[in-house]
Amino acid sequence: MTATKQAMDAFVHETGGWVASQLEACTRCGMCAEACHFYQSSGNPEYAPVWKLELLRRAYEQRFTIFGGIKAAIGLDKRVTDDDLKHWSELNYYACTVCNKCSMVCPMGIDLGSLLHGVRAGLSAAELVPADLMAAVNKQVDEGSPLGMTSAVWDQRLEWVADEWEVEIPRDVKGADTLVVFSSIEVMKFPTNVAAIAKVLNKAGEKWTVSSKAREVVNFGFYEGSEEHTKLFINRILEGAKELGVKRIIVTECGHAYDALRWHAANWIPEANDFEVIHITGVLGELIGAGRIKIKPGFFDQNGNGTITFHDACKIQRKGGHIQEPRDILNVLAPKSFKEMTPNREESVCCGGGGGVIAIKAADAIRYKAFELKIDQVNKVGAKTVAMTCSNCRLQFTDSVEHFKLDWKVTGLAQMVADALVE
């Protein structure tokens, strides 16, 4: 029962008044299931967000409330076992992207996403993280990146991007204003994104740099739910930023990395507040709004892209707040062909690949099933191009487009902006 003990201790550690008051507010109405793309696509009641939380609830009630203790003692409430933990590990890592849509429909307003993250913390303490995901975490610990983007690889890739797209990528510039930290997904799989962001920032005359210390913005420790690993990876970025003396850190098209760095880091590491953390989506909005870059109106209406729609990422739009900028930009770039899916904005349906799910081979079937909801949504507006601001979503989209043999074009907002720049 050591796994159980470790998990329970972690749950207890996670539980302050903030968590407890929300667990107490739950009426077990089950409405959160209506919001969950994994439940909606599969019909499996175990995928209801409230059920994924079950272990945290039991831990709280049995450890912190008299009545809960009594109920467990006389057998009215089940104690947590090692088998439970294994089962809930699958529920939480295979079938949850921590997208927090459930919080939008909870009549109590419980911030389920944060609580579900707490469940992961317990599972990670019990060493019950799925092997694929854990391997990626360990790779990031050892090599600095879950995708094997070591220092040498990073060097070589950026060199190649700069060469191939003829764009300057300032490296390790002391005294620059802005540090840009790309995700390895972009560097390794969507290099055009790297080129696009470099092109835009250069055009705007931004004093920016990348850092060989802060190479990787992705944070697999955050997926895992391990505070220790999350902090380790955040610290690498902060060290790079400190060394170069920048004022702000731009997180590129990566959702959970932005969530971790912008909305959590300061609560773990106070020095995080020495820097302004902003997502590239916000930067694009800023640069266009201030007239520092100009984009060609209607550029994407004419290039045979068909109807264009925008996919809201859970960590950048719903949990990040960059909801309006992409719309403003797309309304300039494609006033005629941009159409919204429903539901959208903060109520958007998650792509199904976030939260580390896409890194877990055993979750593939569940992940593709969840993506069927997205296919419905996109087909309803008849879109042929889907734009987004998150490379993890983009990975899920490109992979699923291949899996389902769809004829969509999948693209990133930064790339669209770069393509439509007025030279």
């Binding site: 407890a20 739950c26 209506e34 909870c106 911030d111 949990k319 904005r345």
Partner: protein, 225 residues
């Protein structure tokens, strides 16, 4: 023992004892939760926490419970949403805006307030009772709610349902003598009061915590709640 003496007991010493347990129990629950400690949020705010909280309550209380289509998530399952809303509406109307209950409050607090006309309260009570029956069926039939319901959920349902049923029967003089129904109403109310601190019915207090947190979390990110 006559019904008269049962009633005397149920609305006298038992009621006050139940009330005491209710208040003491809820205070204990609150202290227990608050005592777990709260971390300061050091994350810089993008929007406004205050406006998030205000919107969270406005929407949570006035809009969402009754208009499921504002959240198109519920297009598949509006019944549970409307059912829950109507049950709470009826319950609150009866408890706070029904004349007999207002008089109880007045005797406890020392002041009263205007109430709704009896037929309106009566209809709302009937709606609440019907909503409860629908929610019970839903709890048994819906795979998710069935999975997350243990004995505690059904006990809580029954203990809320009985005072509502006896209260309704009593005002309509159905089947039993008034004294009998009044006694049963008071007894079931007393039991309910005692049970609240031990059950999830206590969500009426923690609701305010959760809604505030929700408003803060979305407000600080500048996202509509």
């Amino acid at each position: 023992m006559t019904w008269e003496s049962v009633l005397e007991f149920a609305r006298g010493p038992f009621f006050y004892a139940a009330l005491l347990i209710f208040v003491a129990g809820m205070v204990y629950r609150l202290v227990n939760v608050i005592g777990l400690g709260w971390n300061r949020d050091r994350v810089p705010v993008k929007g406004s926490k205050t406006s998030g909280v205000v919107m969270s309550f406005l929407k949570g209380i006035l809009i969402w419970p009754f208009i499921p289509w504002v959240k198109n998530t519920f297009s598949r399952n509006p019944l549970i949403y409307v059912g829950g809303g109507l049950f709470h509406l009826g319950l609150f109307a009866v408890i706070f805006l029904g004349t007999p209950h207002m008089l109880v409050w007045k005797s406890l607090l020392g002041f009263g307030w205007p109430t709704l006309a009896t037929p309106i309260v009566d209809w709302l009570a009937a709606v609440a009772i019907i909503a409860m029956l629908i929610l019970l069926v839903h709890r048994i039939v819906n795979p998710v709610v069935k999975l997350i319901s243990g004995p505690a959920e059904y006990v809580a349902w029954l203990l809320v349902f009985l005072p509502m049923l006896t209260g309704y029967m009593m005002t309509h003089h159905l089947w039993f003598q008034y004294d009998v129904l009044f006694s049963l109403h008071m007894l079931t109310v007393d039991v309910l009061l005692i049970w609240v601190p031990f059950s999830r019915i206590s969500h009426f207090i923690f609701y305010f915590f959760a809604r505030t947190i929700h408003g803060q979390e979305f407000g600080k990110r500048g996202v509509a709640v």
